[in-house]
């Protein structure tokens, strides 16, 4: 765990204060390059036409929806095993960002699906799994928002996150089984064809850009959360000292 290296939240605040502006600049540059390639260079797909442009954001969102959950699971592990204070902060702050990216994966997928399949939504195995993931994010946020004490909230949501990790393969398997049993024909396969390099390069750059964006947002949210906990602690001291 890299977070162990700077166990002290104060040091974390200092370090991120110097790193964040640079990271933001790199993110913006990567987006500029990626979007340039997507708009002016990348070719239209011979089957899907120009709608393939949606892929350059849809795939990064789908990737981040999983990456974000992995980040949360790692942080949850850090919370439960090492009881590291920054680990709960990381897990808590990743949840809303992950939910937003998962929502965008669903929304952009729907906007891509309408012209391609003629419907906004199908209960395809892959889509359904992402929807279940989205609900799990919202459930985690709801759990964190319901428990007022951050330490207790962190433990409870860490357990739920890890239970989710154990369950994800089972959910994926059962959803595959459920759908193929009923309706094998309408399953849309994205990884079916190999992607040409002229599309792959912009896609990878966009994926990198969104991953960097996630890092920037996550670090910013973590800084806020550290301050929020400090304020909470200070208010409790103030209440105790005001007799």
């Amino acid at each position: 765990m890299r977070l162990i290296d700077y166990a002290n939240p104060t040091r974390f605040l200092g370090l991120t204060a110097t790193v964040l502006p640079w990271l933001a600049v790199v993110t913006a540059l990567t987006f500029a390059v990626g979007l340039y390639l997507v708009v002016f260079v990348a070719p239209a797909d011979y089957q899907q036409g120009e709608t393939v442009k949606i892929m350059y954001i849809h795939v990064p969102f789908a990737w981040l929806s999983m990456f974000c959950y992995v980040t949360m699971a790692g942080s949850a592990f850090g919370t439960l095993v090492w009881r590291h204070p920054l680990a709960d902060v990381s897990a808590k702050c990743a949840a809303p960002i992950g939910a937003a990216f998962t929502f965008l994966a669903l929304a952009t997928g729907s906007l891509w699906g309408k012209p391609m399949w003629g419907t906004w939504w199908v209960w395809d195995a892959r889509l359904t799994s992402v929807l279940v993931l989205f609900i799990m994010y919202l459930g985690l946020i709801a759990l964190q928002e319901t428990i007022e004490d951050p330490a207790r909230a962190a433990k409870a949501s860490a357990i739920l996150t890890l239970v989710g990790v154990v369950n994800i393969p089972i959910i994926k398997f059962s959803v595959d089984w459920w759908n193929t049993l009923h309706q094998p024909s309408s399953v849309f396969r994205m990884g079916g064809s190999t992607i040409a390099a002229s599309m792959l390069v912009p896609l990878l750059i966009m994926a990198t850009a969104f991953t960097l964006l996630f890092l920037v947002l996550h670090l910013m949210a973590m800084r806020n959360e550290i301050l929020r906990r400090r304020i909470r602690a200070m208010r409790m001291i103030e209440a105790a000292g005001a007799e």
Binding site: V122, W123, L131, E148
Partner: protein
């Protein structure tokens, strides 16, 4: 600021702050609607046909399950005693609490319903009709549910009992809500008739709910 507007503002603050759970109802709604296709299968035509009913059942359950703390929180901290002693008529207090609860919990359900209707593969007309019926019908569910919340205010496990008590009372709202929503897509049946009955039920429950709820709360202390 008058007593009742102060009450509305406080209820909204409580609902939207940490632990208030304003959006919990909408989340529950989403889950109910998502689970249905796992039960009935992913057949889009079937889902489109049962879509309005599923949305209505989801909204009904989400409303009832979110109502159990409507008066209980106030009773547990002693605030209800002060409200009972106050100059503001208890019926209006119940009405305001219901309106605040609907704004914080029911309105998000209505706003979420077009999105969930897409999952049900519903036609644009059906989506519009269902959303409209939910907009008119969910306040009725809240007002009727408030009677159950007031009756179960002093019980430890009131939540499930509340649903048992109130579900039969919501049958008329369900019937006319779903029939108005389906009438919009099925040609021969008129939309306006069931819809106006639904609106009438909404207005009726807006009167009945506060009166019955206030009566139940007055006797809860004895």
């Amino acid at each position: 600021m008058s007593a009742l507007s102060a009450l509305f503002v406080r209820e909204m603050k409580l609902a939207t702050r940490v632990g208030g759970g304003a959006l919990m109802g909408a989340l529950f709604f989403l889950i109910v609607v998502t689970v249905v296709p796992f039960g009935v299968g992913p057949d889009l035509n079937l889902l489109a046909r049962i879509g309005p009913a599923i949305l209505w059942i989801g909204a009904l359950l989400a409303t009832l399950l979110s109502l159990d703390r409507l008066f209980q929180a106030d009773r547990d901290d002693g605030g209800l005693d002060l409200v009972l002693m106050g100059e503001a008529p208890l019926e209006l207090v119940v009405l305001i609490k219901c309106l605040a609860h609907w704004t914080a919990t029911g309105l998000p359900l209505v706003i979420a319903s077009p999105m969930l209707a897409v999952f049900m593969n519903m036609e644009p007309v059906a989506i519009g009709a269902t959303t409209l019926t939910l907009l008119v019908g969910t306040p009725a569910l809240t007002f009727v549910g408030a009677i159950g919340a007031a009756l179960t205010v002093s019980l430890r496990r009131g939540g499930l009992l509340l649903a048992i008590l109130v579900l039969p009372l919501t049958v008329p709202v369900m019937i006319f809500g779903v029939s108005a929503a389906t009438a919009a897509v099925q040609e021969p049946v008129p939309f306006a008739t069931p819809f106006s009955i639904l609106a009438a039920l909404g207005l009726f429950s807006m009167v009945l709910g506060p009166i019955a709820g206030a009566a139940a709360l007055r006797h809860a202390g004895d």
